[in-house]
Symmetry: C2
Subunit: 658 residues, 2 copies
């Protein structure tokens, strides 16, 4: 075990102006856009979610990680306890801790964190770093599940062992801490792990020619290369990407597709298998392209993104249809009942899309990031920050929650497989990095979040502040705070916002958006203000006719927010029986007192189909008259992401339309 | 181990006129209808399926049971081999053998079996009986999985061990052999097992207060009581029914509902959990009611049947929506993509419905038996009798079979969990028993199958022969061969056959069907003929509007046969793109040369929707114009049960309608 007395004191970061986000590009020649160097979220929906994340989720996370045995298993690996291995564990349990540590690291860089909270999180961090150092073996190996259950075993159970997956999350936590604070405690541990991986894997003699069943280490190794400059990490990432798809993982009852091991990524024509694995892999592929310049990787990532989005993505941005293998379905197989839409898959989709946005500069990637953040991702966390949902349904029927079906759809404080909760935490904690990008020709505001951002603009940097109550209000004020001269200030015009308007210092801008971007190039001066007005009229949306699950139905959307009907707001009739009148008005309605007051509630018109009086067989001759339209009703809709926070009951997004 | 030298020679059955089917009622006071005493299927679809079952499936079954290790594991249990336990086994592997033995037993009673085949099946039977006798422990215990893996363990792992489930299938095989041939070899083994169960389970001191995770033994013990007169078997069946629903099985990740252990059957208001377990349990509940007279059991079975059929049954008669737990979904959760519809569940549904038909005399139970046999059940077996399907989808999309999704939908020679193949065999082998029933007021022909049947009619017996090419032709000729005087000859008028007509000796019968039955009471004489003409015009069917998966779609049916569109018959366009014109004609079309020549093929009219020219997001404003109707096409439909016999490709039953 490592001598814990060698612990270095945390350094204060010496160069705060350097980009500190979750992706720091070394070679910027292959991206159209580059990360902002600084960002701060100050107000609105996301500031509130991040406050709850800081104040509630991170501290309850400490408790849950102790209750669930994650700390215990590391202490067992460190020899700090005698006794039997922790039997409740799963091979990836260390990664829960690492994701939570990554969230701590990003949060510690948050200027809104007060001294008391800082002290508490630092104590969490110190305790965690100490147990990791104590548990790490002499040769750098660190994976408590294997150390406790299979002492001395190294990189043998690759298909299911998650050793490199865990290593990847350790690396990401370590990079976050080092990048934001210059604190090398986790980085030292992570480098020893990474060095062991570099020494152990490869195609030469005595090396393991293998890959991990769960991608994750690929992105992490690229990031570690970015943080340290050590090219062997980049080489290892390339090895893992290149060797995937050659059947190294052996068989699987779901087929090699489950692991994306059925075809090399450059040859794959569709996203397949376990959806988290797939998008994590593709995020790593995108990272590798940026530093490595292999255009076949960029092309594969773009091709697979488009296949995924056009045929395998829910209106919420959620991905993954199947429960049994947490996997993508066939093209257009997007059933709402039993939609899987794992929260982690939404996070992985954001990671992947955000990288593609930087590489290509195409607004559609930011459109999907926005949709996924406000819907498929945010639904994974309760409003109080203490309960999570693993699989996010687009429809829950009457009686489901009380019935015998699996209860994946109930919000829970933690899970046996607790991948999602700390993944939500690290995403919220680093969210300021997903808002603004810079580039040769200017600065792009691609998400509409209140706060301030600094981004590279040509050879200099520009700073803007954003004031908005988006997504509840469509006005987004972008104020120039610091300007390097003449540059383009670009705002994204979402694909649903055809009638958006822009003014600069009060004057209308007549330029039309080009492929989702509207750019105003001028000699920007501090105090100049660009105002984007996005149309937030509620709108009914229909699906491609090949999506069988949505046939003759509509979804209700307003801005980037997908709405749902929840039983608690629509008492007196079953959601199963409701039909929407798409020609009727949709109005803003009072918001339930048990929801945050800023949430916009909508009221639509419809009616309730009467239940058949009698009958044992639910199929009838198609030429028989349909049951008459029943009672006319006003239907109350709330944003999908707030569902399941009040009572457990029926809910649906897609609703029959007339 | 039992001394194999004590093997008794098979007796020839002394009283062939006694009822020999899979259910022999002891107390007939609680059933409206009683089983036929003799039946023989001579022609048509079912005769052909039974020929293939005899000639192909049973003999390949012998090979598969050897290849898969079922025999090996019993030989290990018998101490006939040294070496390591058979690691590929599952706890219920003995039951595969038992179901196949039951199929052998029914087949050996088939008058169409030739001498050579008889000799081969008898050799199979003798070999099997010998290994079972050798493997059985002194105390009667027989379960090779436990004997090999947990020697000496008895009835401890009840939730997953399947010991009583296996015992139940052994009993059913033994009863079939004894009932048809008077051959007691298996019955002696089975009684020793049953006696051990009777001694071991109960609520008294030293007894195991437990139930099996998989119902099956309940029906079997009632049957064993019927065969032997030993009331302790009936008492044990009652114990297992009564004790279910009290949480004895402990927790389960899917909840106690999975095992139907969440509520006592008398209190349950809905079918829940694993669908095979649920219908096997309810078949046993129905059996218990008949012999035991507990009307709360009858009421529960009827209530749950209606809930199942009205809200959780596919148009094919298939049941079970979920893959992950092979379970019923919520009411109206009947997704076609990923419909589970396990073949064994269809068989269990037939077992349950047939018992309810006898108890109540209500035709709807026979309607569901018919629908399930021709569709959800028959689809589980390939036309060549050598490949099976475990989960029966109602829809398979383009590319699914080549893609990465689970391949449950490909027909395979056998399975690791091979419950379905021998279950199909035993069902086909005993099918003559599911056709005609007798009763106080006459004889009822409830299924339309060519052959001859004898059934109790009042105090006597009547014999009828049936001539028909149903389901391809709607004419069913029922000829009286032997008559005890005046009685009612009843034919079922299926719920879809409103315009059915009946003649007797050529004269029209003006009586209307009453609740699905049409009865002609007269002094029937040998040679009298009742002719039922059923309308077989193809018809489009729609689903209850609460079935989201079928919205704005239709199924095409003809008689009891549900049709599907298969890619192999509809080359040149994707089934995903097809829309049916329900106002257009549907005609009989030539049948593909690779299908049996008697299969009726249909041709419907429709068109192909053009694919969107471009687009990354499959959702659009609902007020935008729908894509124009595309090319007009003729769509070829084949009976669902023949799908997947030619090429692996797309298939769908429910199709968008205009």
């Amino acid at each position: 075990m490592t001598d814990t007395t060698t612990l270095a004191a945390p350094e204060t970061r010496s160069s705060p102006e350097e980009q500190s986000g979750p992706v720091r590009l070394v070679d910027r020649s292959r991206t159209a856009l580059v990360p902002a160097t600084r960002g701060r979220i100050t107000d609105g929906l996301w500031a509130e979610r991040r406050r709850v994340n800081r104040e509630v989720s991170l501290t309850t996370g400490w408790d849950r990680l102790h209750e669930a045995g994650n700390f215990l298993n590391l202490e067992l690996a460190a020899g700090q306890h005698e006794g039997t291995p922790y039997v409740g564990s799963l091979p990836f349990l260390d990664s829960d801790l690492y994701k939570w540590l990554e969230a701590l690291a990003w949060t510690l860089a948050d200027p809104d964190l007060d001294a008391q909270a800082t002290a508490q999180l630092e104590e969490f961090l110190t305790t965690s770093a100490q147990v990791l150092e104590a548990a790490q073996a002499e040769d750098g190996y660190l994976d408590s599940w294997f150390q406790v259950n299979f002492p001395g075993e190294r990189f043998v159970q690759l298909a299911w062992g998650h050793e490199l997956y865990c290593a990847g999350h350790l690396i990401q936590a370590a990079v976050a801490l080092h990048r934001t604070r210059g604190d090398a405690r986790l980085l030292d541990v992570a480098r020893r792990v990474a060095d062991l991986v570099v020494r152990s894997f490869g195609s030469g003699p005595g090396r393991v020619d293998g890959i991990d069943g769960h991608p994750e280490v690929e992105s992490a190794l690229v990031e570690l290369y970015r943080e340290t400059g050590e090219r062997s990490y980049l080489d290892a990432a390339r090895f893992f990407v290149d060797r995937r798809g050659h059947g190294l993982l052996g068989g699987h009852s779901f087929g090699g597709h489950y692991f994306q091991d059925h075809a090399p990524v450059r040859e794959a024509t569709s996203v397949e298998g376990h959806s988290v694995r797939q998008v994590y892999l593709l995020a790593g592929v995108a990272d590798l392209y940026v530093e490595d310049g292999d255009e076949t990787l960029r092309d594969a990532a773009g091709r697979l993104w488009h296949e995924m989005v056009a045929t395998k993505t829910y209106v919420t941005g959620g991905i993954g249809t199947h429960h049994s293998d947490e996997a993508f379905g066939d093209p257009y197989e997007l059933t709402n009942e039993r939609s899987y839409c794992e929260t982690c898959a939404a996070i992985g989709s954001v990671m992947f899309s955000w990288r593609m946005l930087m590489i290509t500069g195409e607004a559609r990637y930011a459109d999907l990031v926005e949709r996924t953040l406000y819907n498929g991702f945010l639904a994974g966390l309760s409003l109080d920050g203490q309960r999570y949902i693993y699989a996010n349904p687009l429809q829950v029927r009457e009686g489901h929650m009380a019935g015998g079906n699996d209860r994946d759809y109930a919000r829970k404080p933690w899970f046996k497989c607790a991948c999602c909760p700390p993944n939500v935490m690290r995403t919220l904690a680093s969210l300021e990095h997903y808002v603004v990008l810079g580039g040769a020709d200017g600065l792009r505001v691609h998400q509409f979040v209140a706060g301030s951002w600094t981004a590279p603009v040509g050879d200099g940097e520009a700073t803007v502040s954003v004031e908005t109550d988006y997504p509840w209000d469509g006005r987004v004020r972008v104020r120039v705070e610091d300007s390097p001269g003449t540059w383009g200030l670009t705002v994204r015009v979402p694909h649903w916002a055809a009638s958006a308007t822009v003014t600069v210092n009060g004057d209308a801008v007549t330029a039309e958006p080009v492929e989702g971007w509207l750019t105003v190039t001028r000699a920007w001066a501090p105090g100049d203000e660009l105002v984007l007005d996005l149309p937030l009229e509620p709108r009914f949306t229909r699906a491609d006719s090949r999506v069988d699950a949505d046939r003759a139905s509509v979804a209700l959307e307003r801005g980037p927010v997908v709405y749902c009907f929840e039983a608690v707001d629509n008492a007196g009739h079953r959601l199963d029986d409701v039909v929407i009148d798409v020609t009727g008005p949709v109005a803003v309605a009072p918001t339930d007192a048990d929801l945050p007051s800023d949430v916009v509630t909508l009221a639509a018109q419809g009616h309730v189909r009467p239940r058949p009086a009698e009958g044992w067989w639910p199929y009838a001759d198609a030429s028989a008259p349909e049951p008459a339209a029943g009672e006319t009703v006003t239907l109350t809709a709330v944003p999908y992401y707030v569902w399941g926070n009040r009572t457990e009951g029926a809910m649906r997004i897609w609703t029959p339309a007339e």
